[in-house]
């Protein structure tokens, strides 16, 4: 395996895994406030799936000779990144709809092609992830629908969530192809299958009719059907904000990393304790034989 290919894969799979783990936090933020028992169960199952996705992806990265702990430490001290979308806050219950519908919806568009990526363990992990992601997007849309057709207060929450998350969701596809640093080489290696702009357009085209179905206002005055292209025109996100978030200045960067660091640090005695017990048990068994 060429060194550059391996290095790029570790970066990509690692970042992807980190995104799943950090991605538990914005939605986890609402588990204890879910409004019904069923919503609580659905949301918890969903956020649990994200932990599972992180786990599958770390394992895929481990086949490249890097351990999960090594990757984790790089996340915790900021040497590795995760998707910037998770540096935005979740402020009302409709965000649980919007995150599933828009963020997971965008993620699916990125991930479906990766099931055919050139690196087998990554592709196989993505098959499992994609199967579970469609549950996520659907439950999100279901929440959104309930909110958009609910009381005036609920409709307000739905619109607020859509307005806040629309441009961050568009940014999930990465900067325009012309400016994306890793795109060209990754496409040649078949660990990236479509261009950023291609996927972004696809997302806009599939989402705008859904917004109309929900009866919500479009979050961008620039959205217009373009007959000639057979696609929707839309306003370019403010990329300076994107780079701000990447630089660590998003609304939640500091809190997200602090939460992950705390979980890791507080859990050290547990991980060490259970391992020590397993070793003692093995030694006792060995002595008895």
């Amino acid at each position: 395996m060429p060194a550059g290919y391996r290095k790029t894969l570790i970066r990509q799979i690692g970042q992807h895994a980190h995104s799943e783990i950090v991605g538990q936090l914005p939605e986890g933020n609402w588990i204890t406030r879910a409004p019904t028992l069923e919503r609580k169960a659905i949301l918890l199952a969903k956020v649990q799936d994200e932990a599972g996705h992180g786990l599958y992806l770390y394992c895929a990265a481990e086949t490249l000779g890097v351990s999960r702990d090594e990757l984790t430490e790089k996340l915790l001290d900021g040497r590795m990144k995760y998707s910037s979308i998770f540096n935005y806050p979740t402020l009302n219950w409709a965000d649980m709809g919007a995150v599933g519908w828009l963020v997971d919806g965008a993620a699916i568009l990125n991930q479906v092609p990766l099931q055919r990526t050139s690196f087998g363990p990554y592709a196989r992990a993505m098959v499992r992830v994609c199967k579970e992601e469609s549950f996520h997007a659907r439950q999100g849309f279901d929440v959104m629908r309930k909110m958009a057709t609910g009381t005036p207060a609920q409709q307000k929450m739905a619109q607020d969530a859509l307005n806040r998350l629309w441009f961050p969701a568009l940014m999930m596809f990465g900067p325009s192809d012309a400016e994306s640093t890793h795109s060209e080489q990754s496409m040649a290696w078949k660990i990236k299958m479509n261009s950023n702009d291609e996927l972004r357009q696809k997302f806009v085209d599939q989402t705008v009719p859904q917004i109309e179905f929900l009866g919500l206002e479009l979050p961008d005055a620039g959205i217009k059907w373009n007959e000639a292209r057979g696609s929707y025109d839309y306003s370019d996100p403010d990329w300076s904000k994107f780079f701000d978030v990447i630089q660590g200045n998003g609304p939640c960067n500091v809190d997200r990393l602090a939460a992950r660091n705390k979980a890791w640090k507080d859990g050290a005695w547990v991980r060490d304790g259970l391992l020590a017990h397993a070793r003692k048990k093995a030694a006792r068994k060995h002595a008895a034989e």
């Binding site: 204890t32 019904t36 028992l37 547990v270 259970l274």
Partner: protein, 257 residues
């Protein structure tokens, strides 16, 4: 008051006790999601919480039917105040750390599994059916919490100390699970549920076996806090838990979610 309970009122109280235990504990365990020591434990804790939430839907759903006021399980979960809750105090104490959480889980699972074992032969067919379904889930919870208590108790010196503290704190809340009152007497008489006091022997044998393997020392004090399962006096923690859990339902009454 006790003598005035009708059969349905007593049954309602009993079902609230079952359902509030799983509701409050499920809520506490769900607080871990995204914050556990390792991914595998994060996923396992979420599974436990999911089981408990599902069990709550069954117990409180049946309670609402017995109550006969056209309410749902959600109404009971989200629209009662502290004094109307009937869970034991043990399940409402805060998570604190992973050790305390798992010890609380173990102490509850041990009682829960014994209780459900008896409920499987309840004279009430609905209760027997819920017990049959949930006892399988709880058997898994108990196996996992017991193994973890043993692993951490008999792990490093540090983890042992954490677990001893994790046992000392909730210990005074254990006795409440075995205190009997008029509601229990009515359940025993109707053949619906066992007398809580009668479960203590089996419970003590179970936890002593596990805690000994975990090299932990059972506290000597036999003092027990009470008041949760009768509603007479909860801990201060429950109100804060309900403030979060019930926020949306309280702030936007009548909305559908």
């Amino acid at each position: 008051m006790a003598q005035d309970l009708t059969a349905d009122q007593a049954l309602f109280q009993f079902l609230l006790r079952m359902g509030d235990n799983t509701l409050i504990l499920g809520h506490r365990v769900s607080e871990w999601c995204g914050h556990a020591p390792v991914l595998e434990e994060d996923i396992a804790l979420a599974n436990t919480a999911l089981d408990l939430i599902g069990q709550t839907q069954m117990w409180l759903g049946l309670a609402a039917e017995v109550q006969g006021e056209e309410k749902s399980a959600d109404d009971l979960a989200f629209l009662r105040d502290v004094w109307e809750f009937r869970n034991v105090l043990l399940v409402e104490v805060p998570n604190e750390d992973f050790g305390r959480t798992l010890m609380r889980q173990f102490l509850f699972d041990a009682w829960h599994s014994i209780q459900l074992g008896h409920l499987m032969t309840s004279s009430n067919a609905r209760i027997a059916a819920i017990a049959a379904k949930t006892s399988k889930e709880v058997a898994c919870h108990l196996e996992r919490s017991a193994d973890t208590v043993v692993g951490l108790g008999d792990g490093t010196e540090q983890s042992h100390d954490y677990m001893q503290a994790a046992l000392d704190y909730p210990w005074p809340y254990v006795g409440e699970m075995f205190s009997s009152d008029a509601v229990d007497a009515a359940m025993v008489q109707a053949g619906i549920a066992p007398d809580p006091a009668a479960l203590r022997g089996e419970y003590d044998a179970l936890i002593t076996r596990v805690l000994t393997e975990a090299t932990l020392t059972l506290p000597e004090s036999s003092f027990g806090h009470k008041g949760g399962r009768t509603g007479a006096m909860h801990t201060e923690h429950l109100g804060h838990l309900l403030t979060q859990m019930q926020w949306l339902q309280r702030a936007y009454p009548g909305a559908s979610w």
